[in-house]
C-alpha cells in the first residue's frame, strides 16, 4: 500500500440547492479542497464544490457555513482498523 492510495480521512457532501455561495467554507478549509462552481444553481448562486479528494474531515467548513444542511462532513470509519486490515491482507 502506498500513501497515494490511502482513503481520505473525510468526505464532503454539499447540497447545491441549499448553498448560497457565500464562500466562507472556501476561506475556512485548511487543505483548500473546496471551490466555487462555474455553473450557477437555479437560484442564481455559484455554489461550493468539493474537489473530490483531500478532505481531512476536520469539520470546520460545517461550522463556518451559515446554512443548517448545506454541508455534511463524513469521516472514515476507524481508519486504524482499515490500515490493520490492509496490513493483514498484504
Amino acid at each position: 500500500m502506498t500513501e497515494a492510495t490511502k482513503p481520505d480521512r473525510g468526505r464532503l457532501r454539499i447540497d447545491e440547492e441549499e448553498c448560497k455561495g457565500c464562500g466562507l467554507c472556501i476561506e475556512a478549509c485548511p487543505p483548500k479542497v473546496i471551490a466555487l462552481s462555474e455553473r450557477m444553481n437555479r437560484y442564481g448562486y455559484r455554489t461550493a464544490l468539493y474537489a473530490g479528494s483531500g478532505c481531512t474531515g476536520c469539520g470546520i467548513c460545517f461550522l463556518v457555513c451559515p446554512e443548517p444542511g448545506a454541508i455534511t462532513v463524513l469521516r472514515l470509519v476507524s481508519p486504524g482498523a482499515t490500515r490493520a486490515a490492509e496490513g493483514a491482507a498484504a
Binding site: 492510495t5 482513503p7 447540497d15 457565500c22 464562500g23 466562507l24 461550522l63 448545506a70 455534511t72 462532513v73
Partner: protein, 494 residues
Amino acid sequence: MSDQAVAEYTVARGKAKSFYPRYERKSELQHQTHFCPGCGHGNIHKMLAAAIDELGVQDRTIMIGPVGCGVFTYYYFDVGNVQAAHGRAPAVATAMRRSRPESIVISYQGDGDLSAIGSAEILHAANRGENITVIFVNNAVYSMTGGQAAPTTLLGQKSTTTPNGRSPAAGEGYPLHVSELLATLEAPVYIERVGLGDNKQIAQAARAIKRAVENQVRGLGFSLIEVLSPCPTIWKQTPVEAQHWVRDVMEKTFPLGVFCDRTKERGPQALERLAARAAQPEPALADLPRILGVAEEDLPEGHAHAIAPEQTVDMQVRIAGFGGQGVLLLGEVLAEAGLDAGLEVSWLPSYGPEMRSGTSNCHVRISREAVDSPLVSAPNVLVAMNEPSLRKFDKSVRAGGWVIYNGSEFPSDCRREGVHVLALSFTEMADAMGDKRAANMVMLGAALEIAGVLPQASVAAALRRLVKNPRWVELDERAIARGRELFKESLAAV
C-alpha cells in the same frame, strides 16, 4: 482508488435534528433559511441546534424569538417557540421558565432588540439571575430595517442615521458594552463575548453557546453569550470581508472573552436548590387558601344561595362618586354576591389617578347568561353618590330604570320621563347609624331591594369576604338593611 470506493464513511457533522427537515416558509424556499449569504444568524442557529441535540433537551426547549432578522426561529427550530414583542424576550423567557420549571428557555435577541428597546428587560432578568440562556447577536446595526445606528454601532461607523460616522461630539454617544455592563451584576452566572471572525473564533463560539445552554440544564442560573456577528448586506461587504471585519475591526471595540463565570461557586447552590425543590412538592390547588392566608370560611360558597332558575336576571349597574366614598367596594360586594348566588358577573372599575377626591365609577353586570361585555353603557340602576356623578351619567339610564341619588333634593333638570328616582341624604342616614362612610352600603341596600334578585345570604357572604374588620361588617349589614327599608318606605309613601 478501489480502496476509496470500499472505505466506509459516517456522518461526522450534519444538519442538527433540532432543525425541521423543511421550513414552513415561502413555498419555493423551504429548503433554505431566509438569511442573506454569509449572515451570522445561520451559524449561531446551527451552534444552538447542535447544543440542544448534544444535551438531549430538544423536547423541553422553548425558544423565544426576537424582533429583527432573527424573528423566524419558529421556522427553523423544532422546539417550542414563542415570539416576543420587541425587546421583551427576557421577560417572556422569565415567565416561561418560572411557570414550566422543567423547560430549557433560550432567549435569542439581536442588538437592536436587546441593547436598545429591550435594555430594561435584559438588565433586570440578569439581575434577578433568571435561569435562562440569552444569545445576544451583535452586528452593530439595525439590519432588518435597513441599517440604522444601534446602541452598539462603533465610533466612526456609518449608518443611515449616522451618515458621517457615529460621533459622541454629535450627541450620538458611545458603543454600549452589554456584556461588560451585565458582568457588574452579582446574579449572572456566565457571560462571554465571542465572535464569528475566523475559524478559531467560530469554534470558540460553538463551545460557549453549548456551555450557556448546559449551565441552564444544570440549574446554575443566568447565562448570556454575546456573539459578534457579520451582516454582509448592511455592511456592504462580501461575506468573507464581513467575517474579517468582525475580527479586525469590531473586536477592537468589543474585546472577546469571559466577563463573568460563577459556574463553580453556583454548582453546589444549584444542587441544593434542586434538592430543596424536589423535597417540596408542587403546591396543590387545595393549598392555595392557606398559602394566600385566606381562611376556609372566607371562600366563595359556590351556589349555596342560588336563586330560582326561572327568574330572569339582568342587572346593569353603574356606581359613581368621589374616590374614598366606597364606590368600588359597593360594586365589588354586588358582584361577589352575584357570584355567590351562582350567576355570571363582571366588575369593572374606572377611576382617575387620584386616590381620594378624584372621580371614580364602576360597572357591574349580573346575569344568568355569560356577560358579553363588562361595560355598562345603559344602566338599569345608577347609584350616584354626588351631583357631578349624577350629571355625568343620568342621561344614560334606560327607561324603566332607577337612579339612587345621595342628596335629599334631586336636581329638577335631571328628572326624566320613565326613570324612577330615589333621592335621600344617605350620608346623613349613615352618620346617624354611626359612621357616614357607610353611606355606600345604605345605597347598596336600596339597590338590592330595587333589583330584588340577590338573596341576603349571598350579600352577607360577600360582605364577610370583602370586609375584614368585624366592626365594619356589622355596621355594613345594618346599613344595607336600612337601605332596603328606606326603599320600601319610599314606595309606601308614593
